[in-house]
């Protein structure tokens, strides 16, 4: 912002090769010439805030879904442990240590988690390609008439990692319960 008068140069726009340096440059310009300089981040602060909020919502929703999925896995493994009560008691009476039993069900939970992650990644990739087909058919200020999509492999990796970890944690509780089961109670009850 220079003088804000008619018929003179009031604005100088500077295009940078590296967008991330705009903020530093703006501060430099202000310090050196005393004129007000605004980086693009400053100018678009409102819009950027929307992005931050959008990300926050996305992560909360993803977290909630993960939590629900973890409960699902907890339920599955709990049910399996319940159904296999007798077999667990048999193995324990034969001399299988608690660690074996715990690993068995933990492993099952992780398998469910890994399968879920794989299916989820495949489904996610498919949905991204489906979204990519959509055209808005209108001129947007950004000159885009389609979704801006992230195809970054790291997102899949991170999500899978979280999913498998959640599955493992969810399976751990019933797995521990299974390993601590007292075979005497089962053997007695079945007789």
């Amino acid at each position: 912002m220079l003088q804000d008068r008619p018929r003179v140069v009031n604005q100088i726009l500077i295009r940078l090769d590296d967008v991330t340096r705009a903020e530093a440059l703006a501060r430099q310009v202000e310090a050196r010439f005393g004129d007000r300089a605004e980086s693009w981040e400053e100018q678009n602060r409102n819009i950027l805030t929307v992005f931050v909020i959008q990300n926050a919502i996305m992560y909360s929703v993803t977290g909630a879904i993960l939590l629900v999925a973890a409960f699902g896995i907890y339920n599955i493994i709990s049910t399996v442990v319940y159904e296999k009560t007798r077999d667990i008691a048999i193995l324990k009476s034969l001399g299988f240590p608690e660690g074996d039993i715990q690993r068995l069900f933990l492993l099952q939970g992780l398998v469910v988690g890994v399968l879920g992650a794989l299916i989820g990644c495949a489904l996610g990739a498919l949905m991204i390609e489906a979204l990519a087909q959509i055209r808005f058919g209108i001129d947007t200020p950004a000159g885009q008439d389609r979704f801006i999509l992230a195809r970054d492999g790291r997102i899949y990796l991170l999500a899978s990692l979280f999913a498998v970890t959640a599955a493992g944690l969810a399976a751990l509780i019933p797995a521990r319960r299974a390993s601590r089961l007292d075979p005497v109670q089962v053997v007695r009850g079945a007789a």
């Binding site: 007798r86 077999d87 048999i90 193995l91 324990k92 009476s93 034969l94 001399g95 299988f96 240590p97 608690e98 660690g99 074996d100 075979p183 005497v184 053997v187 007695r188 079945a190 007789a191």
Partner: protein
């Protein structure tokens, strides 16, 4: 001679205050065939679980091959059960998804004393010895009650145990199959010098054992040996 298994002043009381067995002193020598008899609720099963290291005494101690088991943690007890003890219960307790052969192989694989091929051969030998050569690949549900119980005996023998513990192994069998099971136990003791402890309330079958321990209300009231 060091007893194979010995109970010294064993009492088992549940947290609720119920006493299952009390002041049990019992010592079993290698090669003995012992029947535990007694009325229903007298504590026969409870005693078997204690001697089988499935349960721990509230007071007193159980010694296996001279070794005090009171000090051992759960993993060490499990390891002793795997390598030194064989269980047969009233219900066969075979894993339903596995063939007869695989059921016998399960404890062998866990112990890992034999290489896979040798374990397989040994499991087949055990099954054949019990007249189950043709049943090896069958699932438990495809077998008769008597055959299932014999598979359970083969599994109990899988790791060449020092002691076989059986809790009413004939409870679900007809007289012919029950007699067969006791024939097998008798043979194991006579021909293979194994030690067998069997709970039964069938006096006729108990008479086949060399020693009968009689329980009433959680205490040993009679312990008689004969021929």
């Amino acid at each position: 001679m060091t007893p194979l298994i010995e109970a010294r002043g064993v009492t088992r009381t549940l947290p609720e205050g119920v006493t299952l067995v009390h002041d049990i002193d019992l010592s079993i020598q290698p090669g003995e065939f012992v029947a535990i008899t007694g009325p229903s609720g007298s504590g026969k099963s409870s005693l078997l679980y204690l001697l089988g290291l499935l349960d721990r005494p509230s007071q007193g101690t159980v010694l296996l091959e001279g070794r005090d088991t009171a000090e051992l943690d759960a993993a060490a007890l499990a390891s002793l059960r795997l390598s030194r003890l064989g269980f047969v219960f009233q219900f066969h307790f075979l894993l339903p998804e596995f063939s007869a052969l695989d059921n016998v192989l399960i404890p062998m694989r866990r112990l890992g004393r034999l290489a896979p091929a040798a374990a397989r051969a040994e499991a087949m030998r055990l099954l054949a010895e019990l007249g189950l050569a043709d049943a090896a690949q069958k699932l438990p549900e495809q077998l008769s009650g008597g055959m299932r119980q014999r598979v359970a005996i083969a599994r109990a023998l899988a790791n060449d145990p020092a002691l076989i513990l059986a809790d009413e192994p004939t409870g679900n069998l007809d007289t012919r199959n029950a007699a067969l099971v006791f024939d097998i136990f008798g043979r194991l003791v006579r021909e293979q010098k194994r030690t067998v402890l069997v709970v039964t309330h069938d006096a006729e079958l108990a008479a086949r054992a060399g020693r009968r321990v009689h329980l009433v209300d959680g205490a040993i009231v009679a312990d008689d040996r004969q021929g």
